[in-house]
């Protein structure tokens, strides 16, 4: 069996050791798989992502990307992942094209390949006319597109994407989803957090439902529906999710 791209084992973490936000999370994302992380506001989705990125340190448990831990092989760990934050985090002093160049340099993308990929991405995301614009002159949706284009330029083994659809126009959403399907086919893993449950349901292979910092369900749509008590093949992800999170979190953590 191939090793998962992302492997999270018994992760407990948060901002203070006395009050952990995440409680014993265990899950994995395999190559060529798209996994959706869903949960209410404050469920711990962004905190979980911060732990995966290494922006926060786990109180307990381990996180491995392609078998590497951040402590032991930081460069290998980081070069295997690209991140799209919930709010676009752009450098004010760089243009769209310069952001792409910086990402290409940071991830060691060969120069010819960088030129080819950046042209393709600018075209696919309808940003060619904005290549020399600074962040301040872009709308929120365009800034989010720049973030997504940067992640796609790096072509890593794992994409960590936090609320990617916020502010994107319908064409942008379509371009992003098409690209995610493409990178998935090429063997990358995608770990995506979103509130747009219908899209998550259509595109993700598996789901992790986070509630109060605990995983209350995970697996395929049928698995999640079964945990929620919805008849398999009949219920939607939204229905299952609604049932699970509106009963005061009665469901016990899974795994």
């Amino acid at each position: 069996m191939t090793e998962p791209v992302l492997q999270v084992r018994n992760l407990t973490g948060g901002y203070s050791p006395r009050r952990p936000v995440l409680h014993g999370l265990s899950f994995e994302v395999k190559a060529g798989e798209m996994v959706g992380l869903i949960g209410l506001n404050g469920a711990g989705k962004s905190t979980a992502i911060k732990h995966i990125l290494g922006l926060m340190q786990a109180h307990e448990g381990s996180i491995r990307i392609q078998g590497h831990t951040l402590e032991q092989q930081p460069e290998l760990y980081r070069s295997a992942l690209a991140y799209v934050p919930e709010s676009p985090l752009l450098f004010d002093e760089l243009t769209v094209q310069e952001h792409l160049r910086l990402t290409g340099m940071a991830y060691g993308v060969e120069e010819g390949l960088y030129a080819e990929r950046s042209e393709g991405l600018l075209d696919e995301f309808y940003m060619t006319g904005k290549r020399d614009s600074f962040a301040a002159h872009l709308s929120k949706g365009m800034r989010q597109k720049v973030m997504i284009m940067n992640a796609l330029l790096a072509r890593p083994a794992l994409y960590v994407i936090d609320e990617p659809f916020l502010g994107l126009d319908p064409l942008g959403i379509r371009s992003l989803l098409d690209k995610l399907v493409e990178v998935k086919r090429q063997g990358s893993a995608v770990f995506m957090s979103s509130h747009i449950l219908s899209t998550v349901e259509s595109y993700c292979d598996r789901f992790i439902v986070l509630h109060g910092g605990r995983i209350i369900a995970q697996g395929t749509l049928d698995d999640v529906c079964a945990t929620a008590g919805v008849r398999s093949g009949v219920g939607s992800l939204e229905e299952a999710f609604y049932l699970m999170v509106t009963d005061g979190g009665r469901h016990e953590p899974n795994g």
């Binding site: 990125l53 930081p74 980081r78 450098f91 004010d92 910086l102 940071a106 991830y107």
Partner: protein
């Protein structure tokens, strides 16, 4: 509780100074006041020397206009307004007259005090020139001009179209320069006649423009720009919580960023190079370099202290630019990408040192030009060479030690 706009203004002005005082203390401890006072005393000594022996061909009018025009025309307005005010203060626009009155008074007093001081310094030179107006009356006329300029600048802020605003500003500066030249040189009645006609014409032109009742967005942007300048200035001396950077494209400097070759280990060099050329820091460095060339040229041209005066001015400006450039250490400290990019932790420091060295060597070379052009002629080559060596030693040997320490300290924070 619905506070009065009057109370809000006082609270904001007080808060700004309370926030700023610690940074002023840090700046005072850094030795800048000492260097500034040395510079001041040198300037006073040179000025007294000039007053004792003014050449017959001295361009009194040009120098008078150059000295007084910027302070008369430049009319900054601190309003303490913030983005959130479009939600919370905008509904109270009817009460904003009181708020703005405070702003005009606050800025007007400070500007006019500076103008009076400058006029007093200029008056001993003025009385030796062709001016027919009593120096005290010239001072009053200059204050009147400043008040008129303040009113004009406010009208420009209210204008809808940026093209018209820039055009009116240029016209205001030109009209003020002409009025000032007349005040400094010709019969007072002629100057007064021109001034009245120009003020009337400008007033009519302002009236003809489409204007906002209160230009909220422009005032907020101006306030934000001023705050950022304070932040950049003080961050040269200590760690200042940064607001978002103000960016200028500066396409004429893009060659500096393009010098960075496309290689993984140059990623942070590329980022820092663009941070330097596009943020306010680059603007400050260019202004300091231009001022340094001018001061160095004057010192070298006059052969002050057998060329050692010019060498001193050179070192002073190399050091001042170095102090400002030191604030680059604070850039991107809190960026998420610093942790996400697959780059070794030490590459940021190495990149910073490289950009610092390149920028410093570039500025130091430009500052050295007046010395190498003007000093060898009268035989002061030694001082020019000594300045270059001292500058090089400071940039290559001393600066990296301080930068590494500041970098480690700021990262530990």
């Amino acid at each position: 509780m619905n506070r009065t706009v009057d109370a809000i203004w006082r609270e904001r002005a007080g808060a700004f100074w309370r926030e700023t005082m610690p940074y002023i203390r840090y700046m005072a401890q850094s030795g800048v006041p000492l260097v500034a006072s040395m510079l001041l005393f040198t300037g006073i000594a040179s000025y007294i020397g000039l007053l004792r022996n003014v050449p017959s061909s001295f361009p009194f009018t040009w120098i008078g206009v150059a000295a007084l025009l910027p302070i008369i025309c430049w009319s900054p307005l601190r309003t303490w307004l913030r983005e959130a005010d479009t939600v919370f203060l905008m509904p109270r626009e009817a009460e904003m007259t009181t708020y703005l009155r405070h702003c005009f008074r606050y800025n007007g007093i400070a500007g006019n005090v500076c103008l009076v001081i400058l006029c007093l310094i200029h008056s001993p030179l003025y009385v030796q020139g062709p001016g027919q107006l009593h120096w005290l009356l010239l001072l009053l006329a200059a204050v009147a001009l400043k008040v008129l300029n303040g009113a004009g600048a406010w009208q420009e802020r209210k204008m809808l179209w940026s093209g018209a605003r820039i055009g009116m500003r240029l016209l205001r500066w030109a009209a003020t320069a002409a009025a000032l030249a007349l005040l400094l040189q010709t019969a007072p009645w002629l100057a007064l006649l021109f001034l009245s006609a120009a003020a009337l014409l400008m007033g009519l032109l302002y009236r003809g423009q489409r204007q906002y009742h209160l230009p909220w967005l422009r005032l907020i942007a101006e306030e934000s720009r001023t705050r950022r300048r304070y932040t950049v200035f003080f961050s040269a001396f200590t760690d200042v919580p940064s607001e978002s950077a103000q960016v200028a494209a500066r396409r004429y400097l893009s060659w500096f960023g393009a010098l960075t070759r496309y290689r993984k280990e140059h990623a942070f060099v590329y980022l820092y190079a663009h941070t330097l050329i596009r943020t306010e820091l680059g603007g400050i460095m260019m202004r300091l370099t231009a001022l340094g060339i001018l001061a160095g040229w004057l010192a070298a041209h006059s052969g002050l202290w057998m060329g050692w005066g010019a060498a001193g001015v050179y070192m002073l400006f190399v050091w001042l630019i170095g102090v400002q450039l030191g604030s680059l250490v604070q850039s991107h400290r809190h960026s998420v990408w610093r942790h996400v990019y697959p780059l070794p932790d030490n590459s940021r420091l190495a990149s910073l040192l490289r950009i610092d060295r390149t920028a410093m060597l570039l500025c130091a070379s430009i500052l050295w030009l007046p010395l190498i052009i003007l000093l060898p002629g009268p035989g002061f080559m030694t001082s020019a060479a000594a300045a270059a060596l001292l500058g090089l030693g400071y940039i290559v040997v001393i600066r990296p030690i301080g930068l590494k320490r500041n970098f480690t300290d700021s990262d530990d924070d």
